[in-house]
């Protein structure tokens, strides 16, 4: 079993190194194939571990080696394979495998094909460290590793020039990459502080040992630690106010968006809350804040998706919104439901993104859904996948999204947080509307792309086949919710609905369903019809206050630019000119100049005339005598 753990962990690493060997050479298809096989191996190992854990129930703890030994401070490279980490491992490696195969087709024409696979596999490796580590420091290493890989991959097309915000809200890939990295750094500081607080007060960083000491910690420390850790989680999972980077991260290649910015990395924040659940459970105020923030973000992101025209940004908003759902569940104490939604979401969202990638590929990187329409006849396979994924996202039975999302909404009702419940139900309706708006705009309705000179073509067959596991899982995951509950609650706390809620469960489900279906129907009436009822742009409405507010993302990016980025740049300019140039540089320069000048001044002594030297020697001797005399006086 131990070997399987090592294979699951290091196969992606080997894959990354292998692809890196060819990083500078031109496109070699076998690099993609070998990388996919490595990741597939990691997936199979993870699956075997999951089966082992499911059948026998024994958690695997291994310590690879000692890492830091300094005084009382001991950290080892330890890994744990328990119910939570094995779920994450399986989800991560499965989606990664699909995305690797997909990328062989998607990145077909890219000259940096090999480099792409190297980064992608490095990401998988970091993610595996993140989920498998048995201590906070290992988690942090993985956390930073995925951050770096995310930066590399968002900025993969770094050669694209900057544009104005009006032309492209994300400016350019390199700009978006830097934004993501910097925002995450800020949040990671919080995470680091949380880890320090825990270490100072417990003297250890291992999850089990930290949690064992919880009863002896006072409440203030627990609250501080959870707040600090959650700030880290907010950055990685793009929760308000750190959310702006996620939509801009769509500048990266689509497989990256599917893998990193939808299915895996952005869920790391949720994973942290689930992993540290005893800690968060001990701080109910913080947990309630998490739930409220999650609900707010779910609604907030969904509202922005209502008017977005960019296909990938719509899906990115839906990711934000679903992350909000996960945090709502985790904050309300239903940790296993959050994890279940995480897994289900990973499947259907990756599928949705990859489908979006197919569309983008077919439309030669055009992402404006106003320029599409009626594409289902050209792209039947993609249409089926994206509809399926959208149904799952909208939360219709019997697909995965229905079960997990419904459970979250039911939790909100069960906790008597009715305001959160209403928000989540309304958001479910909005989710259905915007996801089907995007499907109908792209694949149904009037054909708007042919007049614009686009001739879309379906993606390669093998790519469509590679996507099928996700489609199957997006469909069936929800059916095994009961089994999964039994499996996961061996580690995570049970979450029981009260008798009252249980009684109303089917009615609650119907309410959600009603909202979802009406969202879809509305979207259909508005966008899917052709001929006389066909959708037309309403320029007048687009000038309206709410439309503009949503379109500009509530002016939050603008606000950040005006009140954070620009003042910061101004302050930096002042510091550069006044402090750096005039104080720091000047000090260093003047020391050097003093040596030059004294050298210049005394160079004249070097005459070559022995008599002058002797004179100077006598001067030196006299000086020494004088010094000796003076010091003798003071002794």
């Amino acid at each position: 079993m131990e070997n399987l753990v090592y294979i699951a962990l290091f196969a992606p690493f080997a894959s990354s190194l292998f692809a890196a060997l060819f990083g500078m050479s031109q496109r070699e298809v076998f690099v993609g194939i070998v990388a996919s096989m490595f990741i597939g191996t990691a997936f199979i190992s993870s699956l075997l571990l999951a089966i082992h854990l499911y059948t026998t129930g024994d958690v695997i703890n291994i310590t690879m080696m000692d890492w830091i030994h300094a005084g009382d401070f001991n950290v080892s490279f330890g890994f744990v394979v328990d119910q939570v980490s094995v779920t994450m491992m399986t989800v991560v490696t499965l989606v990664s495998t699909v995305v690797h195969v997909y990328a062989i087709g998607y990145m077909d024409h890219d000259k940096s094909f090999n480099r792409f696979f190297s980064y992608l596999s490095a990401f998988v490796f970091s993610m595996m460290i993140l989920v498998m580590s048995d201590n906070f420091l290992g988690l942090f290493i993985g956390w930073e590793g995925v951050g770096v890989c995310s930066w590399l991959l968002i900025g993969f097309w770094y050669h694209k020039a900057d544009q104005t915000r009006e032309e492209n809200p994300s400016v350019s890939p390199s700009w978006a990459a830097n934004e993501a990295f910097i925002v995450n750094r800020i949040a990671d500081l919080g995470m680091l502080v949380g880890i320090f607080v825990l270490y100072w007060n417990t003297g250890t960083l291992k999850y089990d040992e930290v949690f064992a000491q919880l009863p002896y910690l006072n409440n203030g420390i627990i609250v501080t630690a959870t707040i600090a850790l959650f700030i880290g989680a907010m950055g990685k999972s793009a929760q308000f106010p750190f959310h702006t980077w996620l939509t801009d991260a769509m500048e990266g290649p689509t497989p990256v968006s599917a893998l990193i910015h939808a299915a895996t990395m952005v869920t790391a924040g949720v994973f942290l809350v689930i992993r540290a659940n005893p800690l968060f459970h001990a701080a109910p105020e913080v947990s309630f804040f998490i739930a409220s923030l999650g609900t707010f973000v779910a609604f907030y992101a969904a509202s922005m998706a209502l008017v977005e025209r960019d296909l990938k940004r719509i899906i990115a908003y839906s990711t934000l919104s679903q992350l909000g759902y996960m945090f709502a569940a985790a904050g309300l104490g239903a940790y296993w439901i959050a994890l279940f939604h995480l897994a289900a979401h990973a499947f259907f969202k990756a599928l949705l993104f990859l489908g979006g990638g197919n569309v983008m590929h077919a439309m030669h990187d055009e992402l404006d859904i106003f320029k599409m329409g009626g594409m289902k006849k050209e792209m039947r396979g993609t249409w089926i996948y994206m509809t399926l994924a959208s149904v799952a996202l909208a939360g219709l039975p019997p697909l995965a999204g229905f079960w997990s999302k419904d459970a979250i909404i039911e939790t909100a009702f069960n906790e008597h947080t009715y305001f959160l419940w209403i928000m989540l139900v309304v958001t479910a309706g909005m989710t259905a509307f915007y996801s089907f708006r995007q499907v109908f705009m792209t694949f149904h309705g009037e054909d708007r792309h042919t007049p614009l000179g686009f001739h879309p073509h379906e993606m390669y067959k093998f790519v469509l086949i590679a996507m099928s596991p996700l489609a199957v899982l997006a469909t069936i995951t929800g059916w095994y919710m009961k089994e999964y509950e039994d499996f996961i609650t061996e580690l995570l706390p049970h979450y029981e609905m009260s008798e009252h809620t249980h009684h109303l469960a089917s009615w609650l489900g119907l309410v959600v369903l009603f909202f979802a279906i009406s969202g879809i129907v509305w979207a259909y009436l508005k966008y899917a019809r052709i001929g006389r009822h066909a959708w037309k742009r309403d320029k007048e409405k687009e000038q309206g206050f709410f439309y503009k507010l949503l379109k500009n993302q509530y002016y939050v990016p603008k606000f950040y630019e005006e009140f954070i980025t620009k003042p910061y740049a101004m302050v930096s300019a002042v510091f550069w000119e006044k402090v750096d140039l005039k104080i720091v540089d000047a000090t260093v320069d003047n020391i050097a100049k003093a040596f030059y000048k004294s050298g210049d001044a005394t160079r004249g002594m070097q005459t070559g005339n022995l008599s002058n030297y002797l004179n100077w020697m006598a001067v030196g001797g006299v000086l020494l005598l004088v010094i000796a005399a003076i010091s003798a006086m003071f002794v």
Partner: protein
């Protein structure tokens, strides 16, 4: 009565004369003489102090200095002859060829 201080004063005067010679003279041969004067000034001081303390070490040391001075003069004069043959002069100002 001639005491230690008289000897030391003579020694100091001689040493100063030698030092001024080293500083002021331009001729290498004269520089040698000046250093010999300084060495002998020191020898006087050694001998006087040695006698004052009734300790022979100082006088022994004076002999060492004389021996070394003799060998130094032997080697030094050899070098001077070579220099004179090469430059035709022993004046330090003529020998200097660096432009500091």
């Amino acid at each position: 009565m001639i005491g230690l201080s008289h000897y030391l004063v003579v020694s100091a005067i001689l040493f100063s004369i030698g030092l001024v010679g080293v500083l002021r003279r331009r001729n290498l041969l004269m520089l040698f003489f000046a250093t010999e004067v300084m060495l002998n000034a020191v020898n006087i001081a050694f001998a006087a102090i040695s006698h004052y303390y009734n300790d022979l070490t100082g006088q022994m040391f004076a002999f060492f200095v004389i021996a070394i001075a003799a060998s130094e003069v032997a080697v030094g004069l050899g070098i001077l002859i070579v220099l004179f043959k090469k430059f035709g002069s022993l004046n330090l100002d003529d020998l200097a060829n660096m432009r500091g």
